[in-house]
């Protein structure tokens, strides 16, 4: 059973590995599903990194959407743009305040959540899931280690 699943997983990832330009070491335990790591920044961004695809889905945290108020407009980066960790990649507008969003990791923007153009309120209703902002193909997966865990992130704003 285990080996069958392991083989299926490997078969799926082979074409992706061939397409990757930078080598990355992936520890794969047979039978395990894709590993998705979630890390946070002090500026209230979250990255959910899927180490199989090398893509990080960037969103804002639930705490951030709460402190922003009703989101009326979301500015997203252009697909294909190259970003460096710390670059401004977009903004969220709510109750007359435009708040910039910063790239938590470096890479190339592969996808943006177009739904937010017509439904900015999704950011309030489902900030870390359906309200994802963009997906970045990480150029340096080790940058994930520099980000905060959920506990450390919460410590930055909890009284």
């Amino acid at each position: 059973m285990f080996s069958a699943i392991g083989q299926a997983a490997r078969a799926r990832t082979m074409p992706l590995m061939a397409a990757r330009t930078s080598p990355s070491i992936i520890m794969r335990v047979p039978g395990c599903r894709t590993i998705v790591t979630k890390k946070y920044t002090e500026e209230h961004e979250v990255v959910a990194f899927d180490d199989e695809t090398g893509l990080g889905a960037v969103s804002i945290t639930d705490h951030a959407q709460e402190s922003l108020g009703d989101v009326v407009f979301v500015e997203l980066p252009a697909v294909g743009s190259k970003v460096v960790k710390g670059d401004q990649i977009g903004a969220v507008e709510s109750v007359k305040a435009a708040s910039d969003i910063y790239a938590p990791i470096s890479g190339i923007v592969t996808e943006v959540n177009e739904v937010l153009n017509s439904e900015p309120g999704l950011l309030n209703r489902s900030p870390e899931d359906k309200g994802w902002l963009c997906k970045i193909k990480l150029s340096a997966p080790e940058e994930m280690n520099e980000l905060l865990t959920l506990e450390s992130y919460k410590a930055t704003w909890e009284a």
Binding site: E66, S67, Q88, V95, K96, A98, S99, D100, Y102, A159
Partner: protein, 259 residues
């Protein structure tokens, strides 16, 4: 530990908008750099602008193109700002306030919604206590005298928890005709009101400044200290340079020029 004071400065001459944007940007950069050693200051700039229409981040250049042409032809500047909110007017007779604050001075940091909420309350409180002007509650951000009359607007930008842009309060009737040329803030049926009309008494912008400084200090819980640009290093120099530019720019139009 108590919070440091907010340093405020009132510009006596109406300022050109784009040059003031540059000043805000400069102060933002100075704050960002000084914050690493916790030596940055919170600033409140109080001023009037020369006639200008500004739009926020939401509108595209395509949408703005026709408006830009029309509004510059009646004698105003036109600028795009990275603040929240939509099209609005600034000009002589309207007090503009730019609080340039670090929201993360407190632990936990002030949330954006709270920051805006306090700004709104500050204006409402000032109008009531100093002028006996009551407001009506509204779902829209800003301060309304009645459901179709807006006396003050708010539009803010936050980057790395440092704020720029801020609020605008109509004091004299001078801005009203300019507001009449556009749909401000995306609110179709709403017209602009001002302190002078609401009170039935002439009021000057410079007379409003001390009360606003007080209200700001009270509502945000901060001591307000007057800034002396001559003694304020790089920040002070930038302020003085802008004031010189403003004086050199000469007269401005009191009313939109007829087409």
């Amino acid at each position: 530990m108590p919070l440091p004071p907010v340093f405020y400065h009132y510009f006596c001459t109406p300022l050109p908008y784009t040059r003031t944007l540059l000043l805000q940007e400069k102060i933002h950069q100075l704050q960002l750099a000084a914050r690493r050693s916790s030596s940055h200051h919170d600033i409140l700039l109080l001023l009037e602008h020369r006639p200008v229409y500004t739009s926020g981040r939401r509108q595209t250049e395509q949408e703005l193109h026709a408006e830009r042409a029309r509004l510059t032809s009646i004698g105003a500047e036109f600028a795009v700002a990275a603040r929240g909110g939509q099209l609005t007017y600034h000009g002589p007779g309207q007090l503009v306030g730019y609080p340039l604050l670090d929201l993360a001075r407190t632990s936990p940091p002030i949330g954006i919604r709270d920051y805006i909420c306090v700004m709104q309350k500050m204006i409402q409180s000032y109008l009531l206590l100093t002028h006996g002007i009551t407001h009506v509650p509204s779902d829209h951000t800003g301060v309304f005298l009645d459901p179709v009359t807006k006396i003050a607007s708010i539009g803010v930008q936050v980057r790395h928890r440092l704020t720029t842009h801020g609020f605008a309060i109509n004091v004299t009737k001078e801005p009203l005709e300019w507001f009449g040329q556009v749909v401000a803030c995306g609110l179709v049926d709403v017209k602009a009101g001002c302190i002078a009309e609401a009170k039935g008494k002439n009021t000057r912008v410079e007379d409003v400044v001390p009360g606003i400084v007080d209200a700001f200090g009270t509502l945000y819980g901060r001591d307000m200290v007057k800034l002396y640009p001559q003694n304020a290093g790089e920040l002070g120099e930038a302020i003085l340079a802008l004031e010189e530019d403003a004086l050199a720019a000469g007269e401005w139009l009191n009313a939109p020029s007829p087409n």
